[in-house]
């Protein structure tokens, strides 16, 4: 192996390690606290709503209201937890529920995300039967869901509608839902509309990280 090849491989390895480390840092440390600074411990309603609105916007949904909301202070110490189910509306009129959970970090003195996820999206394991889908497809669906979550976090940070750039005006993004894109694995060529739950769509340009948002 020549010296230049060794150098190239070494540089590639360094880039890969940095990319993985950066992704882990962003998804695990930076994103959970993003956009929640300055909200007091008692302002859990504001924090929950802000998180739900942000995720709904990057997914192309409109936040409606919280179906349920719980504030749970820890039995001892300053820690606290808040969670709730947010009802959102997709562009095609379908109802989508998100689960949002937060925890108060006494060290940072701010709320941080515990998790934000769409409930029962198409392709979710709740729909799996005994033999359908097969093991390979299950693995692909799970992996796709993981990467879709990572992509959604990046979108929240990067897109102007995301929480990383403050909150945009309602309705500034009304493209097709990302959940439809996730479903593409299990839903190969579909005929014409109407498909709502598992419609075959491609990622609109506005969802591209490098692209800019468009208002239809």
């Amino acid at each position: 192996m020549t010296r230049s090849v060794r150098l190239s491989l070494g540089a590639l390895a360094v880039v890969l390690v940095l990319a993985v480390a950066g992704t882990v840092w962003f998804a695990g440390a930076a994103y959970p606290a993003m956009g929640l600074a300055g909200i007091p411990r008692d302002g859990y309603r504001q924090a929950l709503e802000r998180v739900a609105r942000s995720r709904a916007r990057v997914d192309g949904r409109t936040f409606v209201a919280f179906d349920s909301m719980t504030f749970r202070p820890a039995d001892r110490g300053e820690a606290a937890f808040a969670w709730g189910a947010a009802r959102c509306r997709a562009a095609d009129g379908a109802t989508v529920l998100y689960w949002v959970s937060l925890r108060w970090n006494p060290g940072r003195g701010q709320w941080v995300r515990g998790g934000v996820r769409e409930l029962a999206p198409p392709g979710n394991e709740i729909y799996f039967g005994r033999n359908v889908p097969g093991q390979i497809l299950r693995a692909r669906l799970v992996l796709r869901e993981l990467f879709a979550e990572l992509r959604a976090r990046f979108r929240e940070a990067v897109l102007p509608s995301g929480i990383g750039h403050g909150l945009a005006k309602p309705g500034s993004l009304t493209y097709g839902s990302a959940a439809d894109y996730k479903w593409k694995v299990a839903c190969r060529p579909c005929p014409a509309a109407p498909y709502r739950l598992d419609r075959q769509t491609t990622v609109p340009p506005a969802l591209n990280l490098q692209g800019t948002t468009t208002t239809p």
Binding site: G84, A85, A94, W99, P122, G129, A186, C190, D198
Partner: protein, 146 residues
């Protein structure tokens, strides 16, 4: 350093390490910790049980929200708002099955929460009785009456 001295030094370090590990392990057993560090034992056991209760409360609510989400999906399906793709695994039957599964998960989560609360209550009773029930040779105390 002579080879003999080096061997003796290595043996001493290994022996100290083994003794340290054994002491840490013994110190963490409820039988010894209830004598040596009852306050620490209370912090660990009760703190963990309290965290578990909070986790299970959140899990129960998340399962209830999941059931609600599947209910909404099924209702929209029945109203004709949702149509499945030809090779989709989502049908009315799969939605009904998912609803049944979500209900089961919610009931399980409620059971888990009940168990977590019972665990916390048991640890608190044990703490109030001076950890008698955890000590070797002592009869169990503080258990819930059936």
């Amino acid at each position: 350093m002579t080879p003999r001295l080096r061997d003796a030094w290595l043996r001493a370090v290994c022996l100290a390490g083994l003794l340290g590990v054994a002491a840490l392990g013994l110190w963490r057993t409820p039988e010894l910790a209830s004598y040596l560090a009852p306050e620490h034992l209370a912090d660990v056991l009760i703190g963990r049980a309290e965290n578990l209760v909070v986790d299970k409360e959140g899990e129960r609510d998340a399962r209830a929200a999941l059931e609600q989400a599947v209910t909404v999906r099924l209702a929209e399906w029945r109203r004709g708002l949702t149509v499945s793709a030809p090779d989709s695994m989502i049908t009315e039957a799969s939605l009904v099955m998912a609803l049944r599964r979500a209900h089961t998960l919610r009931v399980e989560a409620a059971d888990d929460l009940l168990r977590a609360r019972e665990t916390l209550a048991r640890y608190k009773r044990l703490r109030d009785t001076g950890w008698q029930g955890l000590r070797a040779g002592c009869p169990a105390v503080g258990e819930a009456t059936p």
